[in-house]
């Protein structure tokens, strides 16, 4: 879980072109949108692309975005749950 979160942070910085943020600056439970990391609706779509590209997980319904993408931990939980489901 810790490893997955560290990998995710690096992938988020890369995918969203957050040039002034270091992966370790992102807290596990820090809100990614609005007051936290300040991501917007286009970033949310890029996160959907990230999950598809790196984890082969498709999110067809963007409405679920806010729930899944609340923080690095919630994304990691979602990925883990998805992978267990498929095993």
């Amino acid at each position: 879980m810790e490893n997955l979160m560290a990998t995710l942070k690096a992938q988020i910085v890369e995918q969203l072109n957050l040039q002034e943020v270091k992966p370790e600056d992102i807290g596990d439970d820090m809100p990614l949108f609005k007051d936290g990391l300040g991501l917007d609706s286009i970033d949310a779509l890029e996160l959907i692309v990230l999950l598809q590209q790196h984890y082969r997980i498709r999110i067809a319904n963007p409405e679920k975005g806010p729930e899944i993408f609340h923080s690095v931990r919630t994304i990691a939980d979602f990925i883990t749950a998805h992978q267990q489901q498929n095993n």
Partner: protein
């Protein structure tokens, strides 16, 4: 504003519900929206997303446009609608006037570029270069100006979905400054894989027919087409016998300054555009007879636009509808197509229906008109066009009080 009026003498439209204005009106009358499975566009998303294509192939359009069939569909659609507009204005020979063509588009010759790209990606020595020479937006307008015989002023505006409305504003200013006698203004856009894939990545395409201003809406349908109005200034109008449809009495553009693509929750840009256009027209909310909504059918647009309308009109919202529920969202052409519908509403007393409406939006106190009617008393109509980049425009068309 007397002495500085801008008269609308005619208009032309080609879109997914008709190859000309009478065919479009017939589709409204018969409640026949134009969404279908794509026939002319080739895409892997064929079975996922309905589109609103113009029901004609390029060869047919080219014959009507008087242009070669190998050029971009964006130019073919433009020439067809611009010719209908010119003819409906009954001004005779175009060479007898100083005429301006102000035509907007957002995709340029992208359809042909896509054909080129397929071959080019396989082998960078292949692909026909004539497919890319008219890629850029301005070159589409030049092609159409040449075929219409327009030499005095040719301009292209590209401001996303508000492009055509801004072209009409710009055209009105050319007239007010006596730079030309007549202006043909509006816009054109053809469907392309580029736009379809792009809107798909934004996840705002509806897999069913779009439902503007409905609580269950989930996105837009892309359409294609072109629409133009023909305008003259007061000074020119006095010199000749004209048969005007109405006047363009107000226009305004504002920037929402919120996000590249999303509208602000309070619709501040929408509000400013509508409010300033009405102020210019010298009318109050109570004078408004009908609003042709931007009404794309996305969650975000309809909520912002509705919120701004409620703020401006309070409890007295006039009849409203989104004709995109018939034509789909034709992007750079939408403001031109809808300007023709709006101007015609003033002339004929039409109220256009909003198709696919059945559930009242929770956040709003008003709902759109759902049936076609004519012979209504229509004094002032507003046409809204709100685009990416926060670019928001509203036009007001009014009945001439003396006619």
């Amino acid at each position: 504003m007397s002495g500085n009026d801008v008269w609308v003498l005619g208009g032309g439209v080609i879109c997914g519900i008709g190859n000309n204005v009478p065919e479009c009106i017939a589709s409204f009358r018969q409640m026949k929206p134009g969404m279908t499975t794509m026939q002319y566009l080739s895409s892997t998303h064929r079975d996922s997303f309905p589109v609103v294509e113009v029901k004609a192939d390029n060869a047919t359009l080219a014959a009507r446009a008087g242009l070669p069939a190998h050029i971009s569909r964006t130019a073919l659609l433009s020439a067809v609608a611009a010719k209908e507009a010119w003819n409906s204005a009954q001004l005779g020979n175009i060479r007898e006037y100083r005429v301006g063509l102000v035509s907007a588009n957002t995709v340029g010759g992208m359809d042909k570029t896509e054909d080129f790209f397929a071959e080019y990606l396989q082998d960078n020595q292949s692909g026909r270069l004539r497919n890319v020479v008219n890629h850029e937006c301005g070159s589409i307008t030049e092609l159409v100006a040449d075929t219409l015989g327009i030499r005095h002023h040719v301009s292209t505006i590209s401001t996303a979905c508000s492009s055509s409305a801004n072209a009409i504003m710009y055209g009105a200013r050319l007239l007010k400054n006596n730079l030309v006698d007549v202006v043909i203004a509006g816009g054109t856009d053809a469907l392309t894989r580029f736009t379809l894939n792009g809107f798909n990545t934004l996840m705002i395409l509806d897999q069913q027919a779009c439902r503007p201003f409905d609580d269950t809406r989930t996105g837009l349908n892309l359409g294609e087409g072109a629409g133009y109005i023909v305008m003259v200034s007061d000074a020119i109008a006095k010199k000749m016998e004209i048969h005007p449809w109405c006047k363009l009495t107000g226009y305004a553009n504002a920037n929402d300054a919120y996000h590249q693509t999303a509208s602000s929750p309070d619709g501040i840009g929408n509000y400013l555009a509508m409010q300033q256009a009405m102020e210019m027209a010298g009318i109050t909310p109570a004078d408004m007879s009908y609003i042709n909504l931007h009404g794309t059918g996305t969650l975000n647009n309809d909520l912002s636009e509705g919120t701004a309308i409620q703020r401006l009109f309070g409890n007295a919202v006039p009849p409203v509808s989104s004709t995109k529920s018939f034509t789909g969202h034709t992007l750079g052409a939408s403001g031109g197509i809808e300007a023709v519908f709006a101007a015609l509403a003033v002339k004929e007393g039409y109220l256009y229906p909003n198709a696919q409406f059945s559930h009242q939006m929770k956040e709003l106190t008003f709902s759109p008109v759902t049936t076609f009617s004519e012979g209504n008393v229509i004094n002032n109509v507003m046409s809204n066009s709100f685009g990416f980049g926060g670019n928001c425009s509203s036009l007001v068309f009014s009945k001439d009080v003396n006619t």
